[in-house]
């Protein structure tokens, strides 16, 4: 079942690969495919929204299917797999000095389960009755819907199963396969962040599995979990769904901010500020709190009265560990020597954009304020700032950062920087205005049309223009990568001069088995040691 390495490109060695780096690359391909398709849906949606009344479709159901696919594919198909599939898979073994993950074949299985999920998601465009239940799939609508709810449920189940398998695998890897001398307090911040993310996956993915299984049972086997007439309750689903889906946002945030830490430390050539505070206070603080705040999605639907003030407080409390993570990042700049290559530019963007995204979570948390902004464009404003801007910034910046390692080639700085500038401008216009429409006019989300809000039409139009700038940015970024892949100059082994293991102890790109020699670390080795 093995083949020799030297023979150039072999399709079989990719499809059937069990090597963590190649599995990672498969994940990257899958997640960018999802990003691309969901991005196309976003462009269709934005175009439709640019004016009141039918713009490019006169069928609201079509819009609803675009939006369903956009939300589900962006979160489940693109962002989580890019972070916990690609980056975690690629970096973790390299950063801890391991040859591979603990269970290489299970790793490949995780990818293929995720891929099967994508295949199902794509069926959305083929079946006569595409799902239209939004990424949240609330019953009873998802039970009544003429759309194919089963497609949604199985997509979620496959991706969830993939996450659980991946999480077990990487956690076992970090616990068992660290190189001699790699003690816990020498792990890269990114490794800690992915561990936090995977603990969250293991603890909470089971719940979304339960929620969507209940949907299947109710809709297709006639059970009564959500059937009010028979004593069931839709509120059960909402609670179980958000019990997973809130922690899921930290499954995104943690690896994303972990990447920003790596980039920042490398380009500031500096130690990580307050390593232990960041790890044990910041990362594990987020993990500890993430299970007790789900109710902030349900203040006006399913929270018992006594619970609301408690959930408000626990939600606000998340600002504490996240604040520690921000302080750790800024402290890493302090007395650094910052070089603004493309990855660092993305990291710099992250510092500001994540402040907007995170801080706009604070009004959401206040149940009284929420009475207005819940369900309006303010919310997509908030979460696009954290996911579509901040976390995506981390992903794109992270790809630029890993590019020489991954391919052995170097990208073009000018193109890289141009992409960032366009992205920064377009994203702020688009999602800044989105947020404003929600707060100022109460423009509701998931609206195909907005005849009752004529005053926002102009803003919607400008927002759509903003989204075209994002599209332009995406094209520039894609071109810069393709250009580098095809015509890029050969990169140095460690072009950034990083002190982290994946750059210093391996070659670019790393061979099977990762390290030419068994890794052993000296007592005074540290991944962020730039003083020597």
């Amino acid at each position: 079942m093995s083949t020799r390495a030297k023979r150039g490109f072999r399709l079989k060695e990719w499809i059937f690969t069990t090597d963590h780096k190649r599995v990672a690359v498969l994940y990257l391909a899958g997640s960018f495919t999802a990003f691309f398709l969901a991005g196309v849906m976003a462009m269709l949606m934005r175009t439709e929204l640019s004016s009141i009344g039918p713009t490019i479709t006169d069928n609201p159901a079509t819009y609803n299917t675009w939006l369903y696919f956009h939300g589900a594919a962006m979160i489940l198909g693109y962002l989580i797999p890019a972070l916990t599939g690609f980056f975690a898979n690629y970096y973790v073994p390299l950063m801890i000095g391991a040859k591979d993950v603990a269970f290489p074949r299970v790793n490949a299985l995780s990818f293929w389960l995720y891929f099967a999920g994508i295949v199902l998601a794509l069926l959305t465009f083929v079946v006569p009755d595409p799902p239209d239940i939004m990424w949240t799939g609330y019953p009873p609508y998802s039970i009544f819907s003429p759309g194919n709810t089963a497609l949604y449920s199985f997509t979620v189940l496959l991706m969830g199963f993939s996450s659980i398998a991946g999480g077990i695998n990487l956690l076992t890897t970090v616990i068992r396969m660290r190189a001699p001398g790699m003690t816990w307090n020498k792990l890269n911040i990114f490794v800690w962040c992915t561990m936090g993310a995977f603990v969250l996956q293991l603890l909470f993915v089971p719940f979304i599995g339960v929620a969507v299984i209940m949907l299947l049972l109710d809709k297709y086997l006639g059970m009564n979990f959500f059937n009010a007439a028979a004593g069931g309750s839709a509120v059960i689903y909402e609670n179980i769904f958000w019990f997973y889906s809130h922690p899921a946002v930290y499954v995104i945030l943690l690896p994303a901010i972990g990447l920003i830490y790596e980039i920042t430390a490398t380009f500031a050539r500096n130690r990580v500020f307050n390593y232990k505070g960041t790890v044990y206070g910041g990362i594990w603080g987020v993990v500890a709190l993430s299970g007790v705040v789900w109710g902030h999605h349900l203040y006006v639907s399913a929270m018992p009265a006594w619970l609301t003030p408690i959930i408000t407080f626990t939600t606000l409390l998340i600002s504490v560990p996240v604040g520690l993570l921000v302080i750790g990042l800024l402290g890493t700049l302090y007395r650094g020597s910052i070089e603004f290559k493309t990855p660092m530019l993305y990291a710099s963007g992250f510092f500001f954009l994540f402040l907007i995204g995170g801080l706009t979570g604070i009004p959401n948390a206040l149940s009284a304020i929420y009475s207005h902004i819940h369900g309006t464009y303010w919310i997509p404003g908030h979460f696009h700032y954290v996911m579509a801007i901040s976390a995506t910034t981390a992903v794109i910046g992270g790809v630029y950062y890993v590019f020489p390692k991954l391919t052995g080639k170097q990208y073009n700085e000018t193109l890289g920087k141009l992409g960032f500038v366009l992205f920064f401008i377009g994203a702020n216009i688009t999602f800044g205005l989105t947020m404003y429409m929600g707060a100022a006019y109460g423009m509701p989300r998931r609206y195909y049309d907005y005849a009752q809000f004529p005053e926002v039409e102009r803003l919607q139009y400008i927002t759509t223009l903003g989204s075209y700038i994002i599209l332009l940015a995406a094209i520039v970024i894609a071109v810069s990568w393709l250009h580098a892949l095809i015509a890029g100059k050969k990169s140095e082994e460690n072009p950034w001069g990083s002190r982290s293991l994946e750059w210093t102890h391996s070659v670019s790109p790393p061979p099977p088995g990762n390290f030419p020699e068994e890794v052993r670390l000296a007592d005074d080795w540290d991944p962020y040691d730039y003083t020597k």
Binding site: F16, A102, P104, A108, T172, G231
Partner: protein, 259 residues
């Protein structure tokens, strides 16, 4: 992406490991679950669904066999002994699935105006008690099987014997589930009767599916063992899983049958 031969490596020693089984397993899973389900329940094409399902089952069995055979040879040279670390993590995730269903049950029950809801037949205690006895003793026999492999004994026939006993107990348990379900169906207590039937069938069904999976894992232990191959970490992990299935049953039986 070009391959890098690696520094200081003897030419040809570096290999990109491959395995077809993960890919096939995922195809098999698609064929076994989502596709037939949708074909049957959503599009009403039951014959096609059955064909797809059959193909999926064959594929899954082949894949499992191939995967286990490869694993026993340990072609990759890693993975040794990690499974006893991974299994507890997996069990934790699995346990939370039960917690999720039980939480749904509690929410239903605490908001119900009366319990049990109308349409529920009188409770029958003999069968669940007997099932509990079966499952608890099967946990003991798994333990005995595992003990046969300890260094001081190393008795493969002993292992096979206790493994078979365990599997028989598990199979009888499954049979009783089928018996119980069909009796209840005859009494008119079916999936959609009321919220209790919803809870009852979903939770016992979920548990039964775990027993079934456990039996499947045991088959993957038994066949190689009959041919003289035993992977001890795998045995340990499988037995942990079986104990978990047993312990969960205690929650199921107390919550769903006796409360």
């Amino acid at each position: 992406m070009s391959e890098h031969p690696g520094v200081g490596a003897v030419d040809g020693e570096l290999v990109w490991h491959t395995s077809v089984w993960p890919f096939l397993a995922s195809v098999g899973l698609l064929l076994v679950l989502p596709l037939p389900f949708m074909l049957h329940f959503v599009y009403g094409k039951s014959v096609l669904a059955a064909v797809v399902l059959a193909a999926g089952v064959v594929l899954i069995i082949l894949t499992a066999a191939g995967w286990v055979a490869d694993g026993l040879e340990d072609v990759h040279g890693y993975g040794a002994g990690h499974s006893v670390w991974a299994m507890p993590l997996f069990i934790m995730a699995e346990a939370l699935i039960f917690v999720g269903f039980l939480a749904g049950y509690w929410m239903l029950r605490f908001s119900a105006s009366s319990w049990p809801p109308a349409g529920t037949p009188a409770k029958e205690y003999a069968v669940p008690v007997f099932m509990t006895i079966l499952l608890v003793s099967s946990s003991v026999t798994t333990h005995l099987a595992e003990r046969e492999l300890e260094p001081e004994r190393e008795s493969r026939p002993g292992f096979i014997f206790w493994l078979c006993v365990t599997m028989i107990l598990g199979t009888v348990f499954m049979g009783l589930t089928v018996y119980e379900w069909s009796t209840l169906f005859h009494e008119g207590f079916n999936l959609g009767t009321n919220v209790y039937s919803t809870v009852f069938y979903s939770i016992t069904g979920l548990h039964a599916s775990h027993v079934f999976a456990g039996l499947g894992i045991f088959v993957c232990l038994l066949i190689p063992a009959l041919r003289g191959k035993v992977n001890i970490p795998f045995v340990k992990a499988a037995s942990m899983y079986w104990h978990f299935v047993d312990i969960v049953w205690l929650f199921v039986v107390t919550q769903v049958y006796f409360w």
